[in-house]
Subunit: 186 residues, 2 copies
DNA sequence: GTGCTCCTATACCAATCTGTCTGGTTACGA
DNA sequence: TCGTAACCAGACAGATTGGTATAGGAGCAC
């Protein structure tokens, strides 16, 4: 067992939360799947809520690293990279573990905007926005802020449509919309 | 009590599910808030799942009627109406009961695509798409299908961003993106 | 060896979950 | 007035929830 028990727990819980949601996934189920003892969990996390926050933090780092790598491998100019985000989305949608956005799910299940889980989930969306923004700022002649806000809408919309309708092609439609926005501004 | 007990139950449950989610809202809580007896509920619905499906059906009809009325009151040409959808969204986002998309939440909490609840929730998204499509088809010179798909992405994206980041302004950004798409096609 | 830390295993707790059962009340129509 | 249908109130069942308590095993440093 190379990874620590804590990491193993977080990774297992991530998969289960992503598949079934937060309330629907019980502590006992996470323990059974991960093969970890209950007291070990409560030794590392003082509550389920704290575990969820750790999961959101882990998934944020993991996903952002994956997204950056995917984008930077397939495109070089900032403009192409902005569009490559949607190509990355499509390949994510086509994995068989895709089940919508874990973070959006967290904000829906813990809707109170001050709830620690909601706050933690919102941080991820900020990270996505910041990444888009960093690419937009490298492209001269753009209203970087407006464009980033619009791209974030396309980004989240593609995820939602792909999930609710089971239509990975939503990513391509979002990309074409993004191209139209770029053309209108550039 | 003018409305039937059944209707009263469905409307109360809609509000609670919208605020707290499905798994987090217990039957007993719905009964306490609505002031209905447990056996009355189980007389009308054979399970919580059946109640949820009734809620999704009710909310679909209610929301679509509201959206149509809002759009048709504020714009006359099909093209203006396509854009007025996003104005309607913004006024929805600014209500103090706005809590993201109930239907998207349903598909996340019941992720299995064959689950009756997931199926029922997806129907609503189809209805939104069909409405957009009906407007797009009245506007000549458009690839109605592609445009509708892109608008649906903007529609869902605006809801998601508005909810996760608490930013009703996402609707206006979506509208500007929609204008760019229209300009590019028209 | 002794102690310390991390882990397992299992029993347990109180609360809550969905759903059932019983028995009584209210309203209304024939 | 009688019957019936809808509803209420509350107890109850069985499973599951998040979380705690207890006892002991395994690996490692001194």
């Amino acid at each position: 067992m190379s990874a620590s028990r804590r990491d193993h727990l977080v990774e297992t819980a991530t998969g289960l939360f992503e598949r079934d949601g937060f309330h629907a996934t019980g502590i006992d189920h996470i323990l059974a799947v991960s093969g970890v003892a209950k007291m070990t969990l409560y030794n590392h996390f003082k509550s389920k809520e704290e575990l969820i926050i750790a999961v959101l933090d882990f998934r944020d780092r993991q996903f952002m690293a994956w997204l950056r790598a995917q984008v930077e491998r397939s495109a070089n100019s900032p403009e192409d990279r902005l569009l490559a985000i949607f190509d990355a989305l499509e390949s994510w949608f086509r994995t068989d573990t895709f089940n919508g956005c874990l973070f959006l799910g967290a904000t829906l299940e813990y809707a109170d905007r001050d709830h620690p889980i909601h706050v933690q989930a919102a941080i991820h969306k900020r990270h996505v926005f910041d990444y888009i923004m960093s690419l937009a700022e490298q492209t001269i002649g753009l209203d970087a802020r407006l464009l980033s806000q619009q791209f974030l809408v396309l980004y989240d919309g593609a995820i939602s449509v792909a999930h609710t309708l089971g239509a990975p092609i939503a990513a391509r439609q979002a990309r074409r919309a993004a191209e139209a926005i770029l053309d209108a501004q550039g």
